[in-house]
């Protein structure tokens, strides 16, 4: 028995769940059954993925007899994919716990759940693909299933728009990915991934680099590398909350998986520059992602931009790993791969959690606009605590998991001086600096992302009347537990990831990384050491100290509690609180070169200065730079080309027959040559 058997079980569960969803989710019982099957698949996938981590790469198994495009269904379970598979499983389980309370039974839900479970299946197939053709078919299936998933409410114009953005960019990326695979496959003469990896050394450096760059851009569309990221903020808000969670938690990570596949496993490019390109693509993605997040007030768009930021951080780590590989620093190569993959797992957990909680917020208040929320911690206490755990994680604050992986990445980047080249060392430190800025802004952004909706006073009546009754808690709570486990159990996680790194790179960090007393020695033996476990315990104890001092030393005499000093004002009103947009105004001013904000203040009586009795309307719009200056010209260009070739399509049957004839003639002629 191999991990693949568990993955088969997961696949079977998800197929069954898709069928059940399609046929039965119109009723509550059917909905629950579908989610139960989906959750069972998740458990199986998580177990299979975890096992695969330790098991190492299995042999490629050919299943089925299909020979459509010259290949069979080739499956393989690998250590690298194991991490992603385990994450997929955890996400699937938590969504399965979440969905029955989030969705109401209906025809739309049925279709949605079918598409969702098919998407899970397709993701699993991508991760378990052992051959190029299997991979590509699974990849394309996943894109289409996700497209359907985003289109949960097809009559909604913005949903159609978001789904279209997703599909268009997916297809563009797919073409590049196909090209990358074709290059490697034709140069190595193998279609299995193992085969390509085995013969990679015979491929010329130029081809390897070309294949890698094509893959970086192609998978970059999915991973959300700037400027290929535009689908994320469009598609995430319109999908249902669990759909968005799945997109951010898993689908984006598959883009990262694709990049890792080409960067570390199949045919790692030679030379330093592919690593540098990757690293800076990642670093800029991270910085721009978080800056745009700051300008958003829609919770889900905000989280989508944050996903872009985190994908950027992971890709930065990969890029730095490639640089160290080129410099012959094998240990650092493996270490940064581990750190990056660790961040994949972490981000998968807390981002899924935050999207699920965003769904709870939207369900209870009817809005995703942070500036219409406020004070939810009093109305949704459980959700608030869970979201707070996720927020600590994503803001990379100790003792949560985001801190551990980001800290490891930084430790890796700080070793830039070991590359032997001054220029490279400086560039790596520069990337570390950009990530540092990103980290600081991320804390700022998530103070806002948690503080505005959950703290303060409710800004609208629905926010004041929100109720937690009937809202899903278990799913996000599971993820919060996972976040804590990934932080406190860092030594265990690193032990497992070390196995993965050995399978991919052949380097064993083992005792160097983990001396065995719950301490982690990242990057290099004479650089630094820390213990996430002890840190978590210490922080909890340290927080307890002031509480204990207060309890022990609080005055026994009678004390008076009086309201907050408010300057004698009649009463505080919600409009007197910082709002999401005003909170981030300093950033908007500092980075106005990027945002290019357009500010307009209008009052109805502007022509009548003393009659300024009307309400003020103030608006500051951030220019969507990439949409306006990159995609809009591109789309116009495409429309112009389409206009050019339109005469070909005349609707005349005879003409079409002529086309067919011409194509056949051309094929024969080419064949003859």
């Amino acid at each position: 028995m191999t991990p693949l058997d568990l993955l088969y079980a997961a696949a079977a569960c998800w197929l069954a769940a898709a069928a059940t969803g399609m046929l039965a989710a119109r009723t509550a019982a059917g909905l629950r059954a579908c989610c139960a099957l989906s959750g069972a698949g998740g458990v199986a996938a998580a177990a299979g993925g975890g096992w695969a981590l330790f098991y190492g790469n299995t042999t490629v198994v050919s299943a089925g007899g299909s020979t459509v495009i010259g290949g069979t269904l080739q499956l393989q379970s690998t250590s690298l994919a194991g991490v992603f598979t385990a994450l997929l499983g955890v996400v699937a389980v938590s969504i399965a716990l979440y969905a029955p309370r989030y969705h109401s039974p209906s025809g739309g839900t049925a279709l949605y759940l079918a598409a969702y479970n098919l998407a899970l299946l397709a993701c699993l197939a991508v991760l378990a693909a052992g051959g190029m053709v299997t991979f590509l078919i699974a990849w394309e299936t996943m894109s289409l299933a996700c497209y359907l998933l985003i289109l949960r409410h097809p009559r909604d114009v913005s949903a159609a728009r978001g789904a279209f953005w997703f599909l268009a960019l997916s297809e563009a990326g797919f073409l590049l990915v196909v090209a990358a695979f074709v290059i490697l496959s034709s140069k190595t003469g193998s279609t299995t991934l193992t085969g390509i990896a085995a013969h990679a050394s015979s491929v010329a450096g130029g081809w390897r680099a070309a294949a890698y760059l094509l893959a970086l851009v192609g998978f970059g569309f999915k991973a959300g590398l700037v400027p290929l990221h535009v689908w994320l903020p469009e598609a995430h808000p319109v999908a249902p909350a669990d759909g968005s969670a799945f997109l951010s938690g898993v689908v984006v990570k598959l883009g990262v998986y694709g990049i890792a596949l080409f960067a570390f496993r199949l045919a790692p490019p030679t030379g330093t520059w592919p690593g540098l390109v990757t690293m800076f693509a990642g670093a800029l993605t991270a910085a721009i992602g978080i800056l745009y997040a700051m300008a958003e007030r829609d919770i889900k768009r905000f989280l989508a931009y944050s996903t872009i930021e985190n994908a950027g951080i992971i890709v930065t780590a990969f890029g730095a790993a490639m640089i160290f590989h080129a410099a012959g620093q094998w240990a650092l190569w493996a270490f940064l791969l581990i750190a990056g993959i660790y961040h994949v797992a972490n981000h998968g957990c807390y981002k899924t959690l935050l999207f699920l909680e965003a769904g709870v917020t939207e369900h209870t208040t009817g809005t995703r606009d942070m500036d219409r929320l406020g004070g939810l911690i009093h109305r949704l206490p459980q959700s608030a605590v869970i979201a707070f755990v996720g927020t600590l994680g994503i803001a990379a604050l100790p003792p949560l998991n985001g801190f551990v992986s980001e800290w490891l990445i930084f430790q890796g980047l700080f070793q830039g001086f070991r590359t032997g080249s001054h220029l490279t060392a400086i560039l790596i430190v520069l990337a570390a600096g950009i990530l540092g800025l990103t980290g600081g802004l991320a804390i700022f952004a998530f103070v806002r992302g948690f503080g505005i909706p959950y703290l303060g006073m409710p800004r609208t009546r629905p926010a004041a009347e929100a109720s937690e009754r009937g809202q899903p808690v278990l799913g996000p709570a599971l993820l919060a537990l996972a976040c804590v486990a990934l932080a406190v159990g860092a030594p265990v996680v690193l032990y497992a990831l070390d196995k993965m790194a050995r399978a991919v790179t052949g380097v064993t960090l083992g005792p160097l990384l983990l001396p065995g007393d719950l301490t982690v020695i990242p990057a290099h033996a004479d650089f630094s050491a820390f213990s996430p476990t002890y840190l978590a315990v210490f922080l909890v104890c340290a927080l307890a100290v002031p509480v204990l001092i207060y309890l022990a030393g609080r005055p026994r005499a009678g004390s008076v509690r009086v309201p907050v000093w408010d300057g004698g004002i009649v009463r505080f009103r919600p409009r007197m609180q910082y709002s999401a947009m005003t909170f981030s105004a300093p950033t908007r001013v500092t980075f106005d070169a990027l945002y290019r904000p357009s500010v307009s203040v209008t009052r109805p009586s502007d022509d009548d200065p003393a009659g300024r009795s009307g309400p003020v309307h103030y608006e500051a719009q951030v220019t969507p730079v990439f949409e306006r200056y990159l995609y809009r010209p591109l789309v116009r260009c495409l429309e112009w080309l389409a206009d050019l070739v339109r005469p070909i399509q005349s609707g005349d049957v005879n003409l079409y027959l002529l086309y067919v004839f011409a194509v056949i003639l051309l094929a024969y002629l080419l064949g003859a040559v």
């Binding site: 009086v562 309201p563 000093w565 408010d566 004698g568 004002i569 009649v570």
Partner: protein, 164 residues
């Protein structure tokens, strides 16, 4: 706490340093000007250990001017409540003592209708010297004189007849 106990506490606790918060309950802006002048070089109340503080949370003494406008009473009460005890309220100026506005729909007429006043400083406006004396009286450092003043002419033999 009786008035005597309060005075003892204050003399003990605020003997050397006392923080003052001002409160305008409808003055004509002149009392405020005189209070501002307390920190001017001519009077310099810091030399006597008095300090102004904007936060009532840090204040020991509330210097109240104006006739206590009804619309402002809530804010006045809030300010008083925001101060930690023990605290002193000083009614400053003729308005605060009932000399200018009566008890009517607009004003309470006196500060002690809303706040428990400990020290009264007459004058329209009380000059900075009178304010300094009042602060001294409030912390028990200066003696009260007015108790023994009959305000009849016999008491002022040095003044000539008919002089004004």
């Amino acid at each position: 706490m009786t008035a005597e106990e309060l005075r003892d506490t204050i003399a003990r606790q605020f003997g050397r340093s006392l923080h003052i918060r001002t409160l305008d309950t409808g003055s004509c802006a002149v009392c405020e000007q005189e209070i501002r002048l307390l920190s001017a070089p001519h009077y310099d109340l810091n030399r006597l250990g008095f300090f102004f503080t904007p936060a009532p949370r840090h204040a020991d003494l509330l210097l109240v001017t104006g006739p206590m406008i009804r619309a402002f009473a809530v804010a006045a009460r809030k300010t008083y409540d925001a101060m930690p005890g023990p605290k002193i309220v000083v009614a400053t100026g003729a308005c605060a003592l009932g000399g200018v506005y009566p008890d009517d729909p607009f004003t309470h007429g006196t500060v002690d209708a809303v706040l428990p006043v400990d020290v009264w400083i007459p004058g329209c406006p009380p000059s900075p010297l009178a304010l300094l004396h009042g602060l001294g009286v409030a912390v028990g450092r200066l003696a009260e004189k007015v108790r023994d003043l009959p305000f009849t002419e016999e008491h002022y033999p040095e003044r000539t007849r008919g002089g004004s």
